[in-house]
Amino acid sequence: MGNFLLFLVFGAIFVFGTFSRSMNEKIDDSVDNAVEHFERATVRNIDNSVIALGLRELSDNVDWRAGFTDLDVDGGTAALTVRDSVVGGDATIVLLSTSTFGKETTSSRVILKVGVLSGSVKSAVITTLEGFNKNGNSGKFSGIDAATTSDCPEGGQPPLPGVTSPDGLVTKDGQPIDGTEDWLAGDPPYSAGGTQADVAAQIDIDWKEVLALTPDYVVNTAQDWPGPSAFSGGQWPVIFVGPGVKLNGSGMGGQGLLVAPQSLEMSGSWTWGGLVLVGDYFRTNGGITINGALLSGLNYLLGQTVTGSNVANGNVSIQYHSCNILESFEATAGKVGGSWRKKLELISWWE
């Protein structure tokens, strides 16, 4: 009987031992599964974090290429390389990350372009949300594109209206115009665009984003106007003009994006290439030439009341030039404010 009991006890120990081993293996596998899932989620978070850190650095400085090596993040490690590349003919920035947590490793590849101000000019060569009076017969406002494909691949755009304004707000020497005036050209020469809101709806430029740009130059007095070197070598700077500044033509001229958050007064004889954006009204005297486009009364887009009157005196020529306008938008590369998504344009994100 004693032997029988001994046999039973040893048998039970063997069965239990075998079972226990099998169960422990299953528990190990189960824990492995849970750990794998946890590690996978964590390594993804680490990778997202290192990419986010890189994007923040690039947002602050688009020339940042230092990257990170052996960065400790959330109990794991991560590395990030940042390099310039060309994708589809465009200059791009490539971020390559590799992150490790436990047994899991993952990597991401993010391709970006330096963000530029988004938008276009489709409403007219002169678009105003206020009144506009042209004095005298000299000068011309032409919505016929002066740029050709030899200037840039996008040149030779369909003609725009010469002037677009809310109904009935454009006058010549204080008298209403009928759109057949010699100083107007375009398709149509004059476009009565309806209400202020109707004209505003035609404007494809985010004025708030424009005001958030980091300018290359701020002109608070006429003497602040940048010298010729600012425009040499194909440079198209962003220039902000402070309130009350009269750009009197002395040493002036150039190209880029000219922004006046309030009103803009220009006189003398000089030429500007590119876009001119004005928060309130503009006034010109003398031989001003703008090869690009001009938009005024843009503070209406911020919900402000704009009731000023634009005035063009003298031999003022404002000529639609699609290539210069494109250059004005490109001039904002690396100067856009706000989140990284505005400062950097995402081309693709492999994760």
């Binding site: 069965v15 299953k26 596998d29 994760e351």
Partner: protein, 188 residues
């Protein structure tokens, strides 16, 4: 008389020990079956979530047109992405099959989760999926059904074992629920 008592006592004690061993063995077998089922469900879930995460994070990758997600309902999604990173945009579709397709398993709720890339034959295997639920969210975090507004996808997946632990006293299946809010970076 004493010997008789010894023998009787031994039988009683031996019987109790034998009963305990048999009961223990039965319990161990049940636990082993349950553990095996749990493990199988876990492994299926790990495989499924790995695939879903991989694909869903690629939504919109290298897609230049605005229409990235072409179909989105509660049990299926169709989207564009260069899923294999070869420079060509692929057409990817996930959808849930009918429980009638898996009548050979005792579990009446399990079904196939199909993954289709381009014009390939739909691929699936019986991973014990019983629910695949998708919800779509816009940039403000509100639920949306407008394809162009989708910025985030809440994916929930329920997997059960094809066979029950026990079919004698009550029918119970090993089950696991997984849920993740996926934000595909290429459609932000």
């Amino acid at each position: 008389m004493t010997s008789m008592l010894d023998i009787l006592g031994s039988f009683v004690i031996g019987g109790m020990v034998l009963l305990a061993v048999v009961t223990l063995n039965s319990g161990m077998t049940g636990s082993a079956v349950q553990m095996t089922m749990d493990l199988m469900v876990q492994e299926n879930m790990v495989e499924l979530t790995r695939e879903v995460e991989y694909d869903f994070h690629k939504i919109g990758y290298r897609v230049s047109n605005d229409t990235v997600i072409t179909l989105a309902d509660s049990t299926g999604i169709t989207f564009l992405a260069d899923i294999d990173d070869d420079g060509n945009v692929d057409f990817v579709r996930y959808y849930l099959g009918s429980p009638n397709e898996l009548t050979s398993t005792p579990n009446t709720e399990d079904r196939l989760l199909y993954r289709v890339v381009n014009s390939e034959t739909p691929k699936s295997s019986n991973m014990g999926v019983v629910a695949f639920d998708l919800k779509y969210y816009d940039a403000s975090g509100n639920e949306t059904s407008v394809l162009g507004d989708i910025r985030g996808i809440n994916v929930s997946l329920d997997v059960e074992s094809p066979f029950p632990y026990s079919d004698t006293t009550f029918v119970a299946y090993a089950g696991l629920h997984w849920e993740e809010y996926i934000v595909p970076m290429n459609i932000q």
